[in-house]
Symmetry: C2
Subunit: 339 residues, 2 copies
Amino acid sequence: MKPTIYDVAEKSGVSIATVSKVINNTGRISKSTREKVTQIMNELQYQPSIIASALTGKITFTFGMIIPDLANPFFAEIARAVEDRAHELGFSMIICSTDNSLDKELKYTSLLLNKNVDGIILATGRDHERDSSLHEIISKKVPVVLIAREMPALAIDTVLVDDYLGGLQATAHLIEQGHQRIAVIAEYENIMSSRERVRGYKAALSNAGIPFDESMIVNCGHSIDDGKQSMRSLIQSGNPPTAIFACNDIIAIGAIQAARELEVKVPDHMSVIGFDNTVMATLIAPQLTTIAQPIKEMGRYAADLLISEIKGTKSAKQRIVLLPELVVRQSTGEPQIAK
Amino acid sequence: MKPTIYDVAEKSGVSIATVSKVINNTGRISKSTREKVTQIMNELQYQPSIIASALTGKITFTFGMIIPDLANPFFAEIARAVEDRAHELGFSMIICSTDNSLDKELKYTSLLLNKNVDGIILATGRDHERDSSLHEIISKKVPVVLIAREMPALAIDTVLVDDYLGGLQATAHLIEQGHQRIAVIAEYENIMSSRERVRGYKAALSNAGIPFDESMIVNCGHSIDDGKQSMRSLIQSGNPPTAIFACNDIIAIGAIQAARELEVKVPDHMSVIGFDNTVMATLIAPQLTTIAQPIKEMGRYAADLLISEIKGTKSAKQRIVLLPELVVRQSTGEPQIAK
DNA sequence: GTGAAAGCGCTAACAC
DNA sequence: GTGTTAGCGCTTTCAC
């Protein structure tokens, strides 16, 4: 059987309190007994039970990560970044994919809370607190950080990229290449980051003195197929744009595929720019010009925020806004017909 | 504060033992007290602490999943499949990415064991028990299942695809298209599945009466770049093949990229077939012909095996071998120069 | 049918 | 410096 603190105490000829003290480096103990106990622990290969200590000491060194879909490369990459930092700090991560279903989000949240996780990193949820499990988490005073999402009305630790700036950069890049008629394919409107990117798009247009055309905004879901369909309708419309700003790489890839199917060449006939810079951006042909989110850093910051919140070494809530970066590849270029 | 079993007992006017019995549906209790207690539990929004019950009742409803890399779409998809089934059965999953480092594998294994996980699903590890954390897991009698890996010398629950058959199917498809000179880009030799795929390749060659040429086997790592480099050397060799069997989609994608850079057209000048059928296969142009692993099923079976092992509702160890399936897309075709 | 009581493995006063 | 002891929230005999 797995040795317990009692076994160590007995074999060392001390009390369990003493053993506990050497484990946790608390109280005062003589060098000699510390050495003795340490030696016995090694001998027995003793490992304190995290479960038992969680029942008293409070923390489980485990947190939950709630994302829309682990099979989505963007979130998988984020999760990996968070995981790495968490492991460095001695924490484990329970993962939950919600498929953006509020039901699942609520269910997983209370599941996690029951398991006494020390905190939760949330990457899902709509704009409003009402539409998320945040209310429950906050009311139980469990540390939480939002990643790649925001909830402006609440004081919550948040790490995200400046979506407005990203949208502006993307659009400005297109304009610089000489495009005037630029469409944007955006995700649901009730997602803040999507709205912000569109806002950046409009700002870039306005900066360049290009009038905004409502019909140049297409909303869609978040699958490749959604991107494909949106692109199709854009191409087949009477007056297609010469460039597309897709609000994320997945949609951009769908758009490129649709273009290929309809024999519209990218970037010769139409430029496409994405957002996120996941691995996928380099897989597709032509390789995707996109706005890079610093995924590694985001994951790291999120883990750091959560864990310092857990350990109580932090007071004020923070909002860390990282800067996106334009990565030029092959899917954008000058419009064929100069105007 | 979170209500405990004591709060429920007090409010219901019964003992904690009785409450425990209604929670777990054990022992005998009258309908009326059961109803009463249930009602109070709802009222208080009582949720039993899994931590506390784990300290006695033994199981934590949590297991570990050890994979090489969460950011690798193949493993992310597997993890997602496992996660879904686990959640259906009331379990949570702690994820650990090892980057194929034995050190990390060992570290994470003992971490998980300390956290009293009920079991572990392992997707990493070399061929030999010595080179994996299996020894520790097994010696502690913790349920374990291997997914997409095997350890033939040990009696362990395993879920995998018939790699030999997959290799054979891939190669046979190429032969059917008229190829004679077929190279294979394989992962490290110390990985069983890779060796099996190569064995299938040889069998297909032999079935077709095509002599085996040692120089047609290239070994490499598991990144896109590794695939790229291998492809480059193959193309630039004096006598390049007309078709490539890449042992996984990632390598295949690297190969296609290298071909594109060297202006070798796929599939006109060279056919490429992959293995796994991850999302990536449909992203790349030309879309990748590949051997599909039934990822969803694999994940589901692995979770089922592990959990029935945990619950003790299973006796004999099983080895579930699923069948791969050829998915023809656009990266394979007839060789340009008929022989 | 129900409850008292003894743990599960550990932490944290507090006493010596 | 070290040990005693009272929990943490729950399960599980074993009486009644």
